[in-house]
Symmetry: C2
Subunit: 362 residues, 2 copies
């Protein structure tokens, strides 16, 4: 049976080894073992170590599992900001992160730029009272990315604030110096090519101390997924509640596969496929790069305006070839195309996609 290939920006095509790992997981009773057993602790320890190895996370940074990246927005604000957060907002997801702060009773301030644009760090003015700067490194909704150098500039300019990085759709492509940020998080159903239902949250001692200080003041920092509660179990390679054991197992296995392939190789391939696609957008009369500035163009979520055609036309054209691409987000649903460029998407798939689109006529 021929299956579709999903070039959608999450959930997306599974990493090509996942199906085999699922079989092994069933054979090895991964779904039945206790989350307090040595067998589970071994899985947890392996996955945490492999994720850190793949992404280059320093030894002293903590790594815990949550349910989604969306949950981490909530937990970060609960644990690491008593009164005020600051946000760079340029799309639907960065906007939602900002809104969470208000919903949790914090004062949230922001720098807003239009959908599809990036940020000029010189224009960023973080209020002194803001305790955390929240950035969305890769805006999945618009395909605008924040270069790591811009994040490092923020660190230099605001050394006292915590810097939290939403890297939902850029991991493992994103190559960042973790020592220049305080927290980073992602979900596994995008670049990692796994079934949805698991988030990964990385943070440093400064975040722990902030959470501890809020707790010491008698403020509520949540319950089972507060930083202290997560860490109390993480040191034992366990979780506060029964986790998505299968998801944690699969993440470790896919990290092993990616490590064998080599993260540098993966990153080069992502850049190669992105370059081909952006060049195509520039050359074809029905497509037009949505993010204008090259340095703000995401390498993993490639977005184009559709000229004189609709997303439905493009989608219907590709359907017989078993290629599924993403529509624009929200009000851009019919007027844009979003193409995921994750490690599981092979060069051959991109050649096929672009060859087909080359022949597309509205």
């Amino acid at each position: 049976m021929s299956k579709n290939i999903y070039l959608t920006p999450g959930p997306s095509e599974l990493y090509f080894t996942v199906q085999d790992h699922l079989k092994t997981a069933i054979q090895e009773d991964v779904c039945s073992i206790s989350h307090r057993s040595q067998a589970f602790m071994d899985i947890y320890q392996n996955t945490a170590a492999r994720v850190k190895e793949l992404l280059g996370v320093p030894e002293e940074y903590y790594l815990v599992f949550t349910n989604t990246a969306t949950e981490v927005w909530e937990r970060l604000i609960q644990n690491c900001a008593e009164k005020q957060t600051y946000h760079l907002v340029n799309g639907s997801f960065s906007k939602r992160f900002y809104e969470f702060s208000g919903l949790l009773g914090r004062k949230a301030t922001k720098l807003d730029v239009p959908f599809g644009e990036g940020f000029d760090i010189d224009q960023v003015v973080v209020p002194e009272e803001a305790e955390m700067i929240c950035v969305t490194q890769n805006e999945t909704s618009s395909g605008a990315a924040l270069p790591v150098d811009a994040i490092y500039q923020l660190r230099e300019k605001y050394p006292d604030q915590l810097i939290a990085v939403d890297a939902v759709s850029s991991v493992p492509y994103l190559n960042i110096d973790y020592r220049k940020i305080d927290s980073l998080f992602f979900s596994v159903q995008k670049g990692m090519g796994l079934p949805a239902g698991l988030g990964v949250w990385i943070f440093n001692q400064r975040c722990v101390e902030k959470a501890n200080s809020l707790e010491a003041k008698g403020l509520s920092i949540g319950t089972y997924h507060s930083i202290p509660s997560l860490l109390e179990k993480a040191v034992k390679h366990q979780t506060p509640a029964t986790p998505n054991v299968l998801g944690i197992y699969l993440l470790g296995k896919v990290c092993e596969d990616m490590l064998r392939r080599g993260v540098e190789q993966i990153r080069q391939e992502v850049e190669h496929k992105a370059a081909l696609t952006y060049n195509f957008f520039e050359a074809h009369p029905n497509f037009e790069c949505f993010v204008q500035k090259k340095e703000h163009q995401s390498q993993t979520v490639l977005v184009a305006n559709l000229v004189n055609c609709t997303f439905q036309q493009v989608s219907e054209y590709l359907k017989p070839h078993l290629l599924q691409v993403g529509s624009g987000y929200g009000k851009w649903k019919t007027s844009q195309i979003r193409i995921a460029n994750f490690p599981t998407h092979s060069k051959e798939t991109f050649f096929k996609l672009l060859d087909l689109l080359q022949e597309f006529k509205a």
Copy 2:
């Protein structure tokens, strides 16, 4: 390859059809479809309808998906109690539910009875200020259950308070009149026999109104998993964040299988296996029913004190026969045995288990 059979009280043995449904899920791209697509909405709608059908949940009750039952403790308190909750505490999980209320800044009061005991409803005195009565229908840690009639008595005695029922390890065996409670929740890795990583939260209009009233007062009721946020998406058969799509799919399929078998049949079989096991505990010199009062003995988590032997001895004895049973919880780890009696555990498995244990000598 011979696999172990897990008679552990969660995670437990997968429902025997899960492996086939996993294969179909992969073939049908369940892990790659967008959680905003019609294909996902169809899955959501089917699963919600089948769960309600299987459990006899009235049409007008809401059903939403969370990450775990543990999460529901937090969301219930955030959404349905402004100042005070009341708890029946007789084990580790009911105690943790109670503690969550304090962690969220509420005043929590409780009736405490010793581990392994049930409750005499005549002794329950709920303070007038308590907005929600929280009961753990089946204490997974001790094997003590709260009969549904006791819950109905609570409703008659305290019609103004919300009643929230933790049914984590008793669904789908539990046969309860939902109109006599306001909320019920469970995780799928116990009686439903599914991979961990999904919770189901059922609640009525009174809970919605309570959440709305707290929000109208300007209080924080959380973010993406507040009742209004969950319902806003649920009416469209969607979720606020990318959910465990595979888990939701599998839950619907297993409900269909259980509906074909018939929930009455399943409940009768559970009772039959429980009776056999409790009779065995009473007759064998190395076992002794932990929960003394018959009406408080759980039908789904069967707990015995071990007499003149340790859990390790029993466990090692069963291991060559590929049967995995649960140890006691916490400080009862070596001195008790916990046997899960879920729908996936066949009568034949119980015959084999009890025949073997019959021959056990410490």
